[in-house]
């Protein structure tokens, strides 16, 4: 590049495999275990692919979407959420949110890839998809839009991340904006896949597309807090005043979003109780098969407890934030499961009053399904740990990594480079050109 003879690794804050080697034994052990889990999951998945999914998966003719779809949704919801929350800072200029951008965008890409890993083993003919999605598109199909929009989203996020590393704020901002727009379109469309199945009253309607966006933002806030405070446990140096302020701001937003989702959930339950098509499913949440999922995981671990803990943390008790968001991640996982599976458990012929469909349908994830989900999740965990070390905690302000010709921008805290003969101020203006 233009005369700046700066080592890429230094420019990008890339510490490489060296950094991994210096990691502590426990860290290495954790990474090793995640790698083994991911590998094992992939092997089990490939085994299923060859023997045939119908022999090894728990999904049935009447419950064709199982754990894999719900884990996939968990991943893409989190990915979109990371994009939404981080965009407050580096797209819309909310100063307090800026320091989280690099980690958030990195994790957003990784969650998306993790989701794709999982869905690969759910789609029966993934290789056909690449061909027929292109040459035989059905524009009225939400499923087609999902593939297309998430594909575009991933591309934008990767380009954005590149420009973030390159410190090109103007372009990263532009790409971040496109990524956000496409991401929101993709994500509400994912809700639309469910919301447009009008034979399924539990899903049908505009509720899910809207809920998915807010719920994604909540998951995003939670994920940022979780991964940032976890990163802080590994390397306390990543916290500085700007980062502390960012964590506080994200905590506030997350508290707000949890309240919004509580509100959504209450109305889902209350309206569902008086709807003939939803009543059975809602009752199974309240008192039936899904009561533990709903009350313990979705409500208590997913919302109420984290809400209390986050408020208690005041945004600066990082250990408390870590606990709260860790529990919340588990709760959110169940939240996704509780959308996908129960929506299918009332047969379409149940209301006909026939003997065959009198009972609610049952689904239990099989060993293969659990392992394939683990493949995606362990992959995400592994690349997170690798990223914390190799990308030096996604830091922007590290004096040691400021290379020759660079300086720390007083505005955004990033490292900027001066062109020949430029003053610092001119360089800053160039970097922060508004589009």
């Amino acid at each position: 590049m233009t005369g700046r003879m700066v080592n890429i690794s230094k420019r990008w804050g890339f510490h490489g495999v060296e950094a991994l080697k210096q990691a502590g034994p426990l860290y290495k052990l954790a990474m090793g275990m995640l790698a083994v889990m991911a590998l094992a999951g992939a092997v089990v998945g490939i085994h299923g692919f060859f023997v045939g999914y119908h022999h090894v998966y728990g999904v049935t003719k009447q419950i064709p979407w199982g754990l894999l779809i719900s884990t996939y949704i968990f991943c893409v919801v989190t990915s979109t959420g990371l994009c939404i929350i981080s965009s407050i800072g580096h797209v819309f200029g909310g100063e307090a949110f800026m320091p989280i951008a690099k980690r958030a965008v990195y994790m957003s890409i990784m969650f998306m890839l993790g989701g794709f890993c999982i869905i690969f083993f759910d789609i029966e003919n993934p290789f056909r998809m690449a061909i027929w999605n292109v040459i035989s598109p059905n524009f009225s199909s939400n499923m087609w839009w999902m593939g297309t929009l998430y594909g575009a989203y991933l591309v934008f996020m990767i380009i954005e991340y590149y420009f973030l590393l390159e410190q090109n704020h103007a372009l990263s901002r532009l790409m971040g904006f496109f990524g956000l727009v496409v991401g929101i379109a993709a994500h509400s469309n994912l809700g639309g896949i469910f919301g447009m199945l009008h034979g399924r009253p539990f899903w049908y309607g505009p509720y899910l597309p809207i809920y998915f966006i807010f719920s994604a933002a909540m998951s995003g806030g939670c994920a940022i807090l979780f991964f940032t405070t976890l990163g802080w446990r590994f390397n306390p140096e990543i916290m500085n005043q700007r980062m502390e302020r960012a964590v506080k701001a994200v905590t506030q937003v997350t508290i707000f979003l949890i309240s919004v989702i509580i509100f959504f959930t209450i109305w889902k339950i209350v309206t569902g109780m008086v709807s003939e098509g939803k009543h059975l499913i809602i009752m199974s949440f309240l008192t039936g098969d899904y009561a533990i999922n709903f009350w313990v995981f979705e409500i208590f671990l997913g919302m109420v407890l984290p809400l209390y803990l986050l408020i208690r943390s005041r945004g600066n008790n990082f250990n408390l934030i870590l606990t709260a968001t860790g529990l919340m991640m588990v709760g959110i996982f169940f939240m996704r499961y509780d959308i996908v599976i129960p929506g299918q458990m009332e047969s379409v012929f149940h209301s006909l009053g026939v003997v065959e469909e009198a009972e609610l349908l049952k689904y239990t994830p099989s060993f293969h399904e659990i392992m394939v989900s683990l493949f995606g999740l362990a992959f995400i965990g592994f690349v997170y740990l690798a990223g914390e070390k190799m990308l030096n905690g996604h830091q922007l302000e590290k004096h040691e990594i400021v290379p020759e010709g660079g300086y720390i921008c007083p505005g955004c805290g990033a490292i900027h480079f001066m062109e020949e003969g430029e003053t610092e101020e001119e360089a800053m203006k160039r970097h922060h050109r508004i589009w």
């Binding site: 003719k61 993934p126 939400n142 499923m143 009008h198 034979g199």
Partner: protein, 274 residues
């Protein structure tokens, strides 16, 4: 043809007040008028509006069905005895594996009724005119045949996302591992109709004539006659989903229906008897 005369038409008509104008109009468009609602509004009874149209004035009648031949099936529910010969014939003809089905027979039990305690309801793909499965499929692997209206599969395009299985309100689809694609009833298009046969395997094998299959646009055809009569109610399953299904249901045990099939005129009033 001779059909057992079981006069078991025992469901209570709950009246049509609960049917919204919107729904009513939609059925009118199909050329059918609503005459009753059964089982908590879940089954909507329809009857041809041909006869009523003139009386009421502004009713829309479909003069032309959208396809020709417009294949359709009328199931005379009271004639079904759950022998499952149709299911057997379908499985054999279309190589349906044991984990899937293209058609099946549902059982409905009653207590406290005087005539019968059980009814059998054959179900299959409704070849919906507004098919949700066709809308949902990302790759047009499932499509509405522009000539016959049969909802068919182009197996090589199916990516196996299974969205169509959830989109279908009639549970008519399953994933076939042999075909590497979703499989469903195609009115035996591939195995029979396209080879010149006139009936589907199920209707050909039904010993009681419960499944009548044919062309809805042909006034001489049995399905045309069964749908375009006023005496006995005709309904579709899950009308609220508004998919414009092409499988019609009726009890099918009334003398009037037999008379139509025997090409006799109705005799409501005999002047010699007064």
């Amino acid at each position: 043809m001779k059909f057992p005369k079981i006069n078991l038409d025992s469901l209570k008509n709950e009246g049509t007040e609960s049917v919204t104008n919107h729904e009513r109009r939609k059925f009118m468009k199909l050329g059918l008028a609503i005459t009753g609602v059964y089982a908590g509004g879940k089954i909507l009874s329809l009857s041809s509006s041909i006869g009523t149209a003139h009386a009421s004035g502004g009713t829309e009648i479909v003069k032309k069905y959208p396809y020709n031949p417009h294949y359709s099936m009328v199931i005379r529910q009271s004639l079904c005895i759950d022998c499952e010969k149709c299911v057997e014939a379908c499985n054999k003809t279309n190589h349906v594996p044991d984990y899937g089905y293209r058609t099946r027979i549902l059982t409905k039990k009653y207590s406290g009724t005087l005539d019968k305690q059980v009814e059998f309801i054959p179900v299959l793909c409704n070849h919906c005119n507004d098919a949700p499965c066709v809308r949902a499929c990302p790759t047009v692997a499932t499509f509405k045949d522009p000539i016959t209206g049969i909802v068919r599969m182009d197996s090589k395009r199916c990516i196996g996302c299974k969205t169509c299985m959830l989109a279908c309100p009639y549970d008519a689809r399953y994933f076939s591992f042999e075909r590497h694609a979703v499989d469903k009833c195609d009115f035996c298009w591939e195995e029979r109709l396209s080879k010149g046969e006139k009936l589907t395997a199920c209707s050909a094998s039904c010993p009681t004539g419960a499944r009548t299959f044919g062309n809805l646009t042909d006034p001489e055809n049995i399905v045309f006659k069964l749908v375009h009569q006023l005496e006995e109610q005709v309904w579709v399953l899950r009308p609220a989903d508004d998919t414009k299904p092409n499988i019609f249901y009726m009890k099918g045990n009334m003398l009037s229906v037999d008379n139509i099939l025997k090409e006799q005129k109705f005799k409501y009033y005999d002047p010699n008897k007064v």
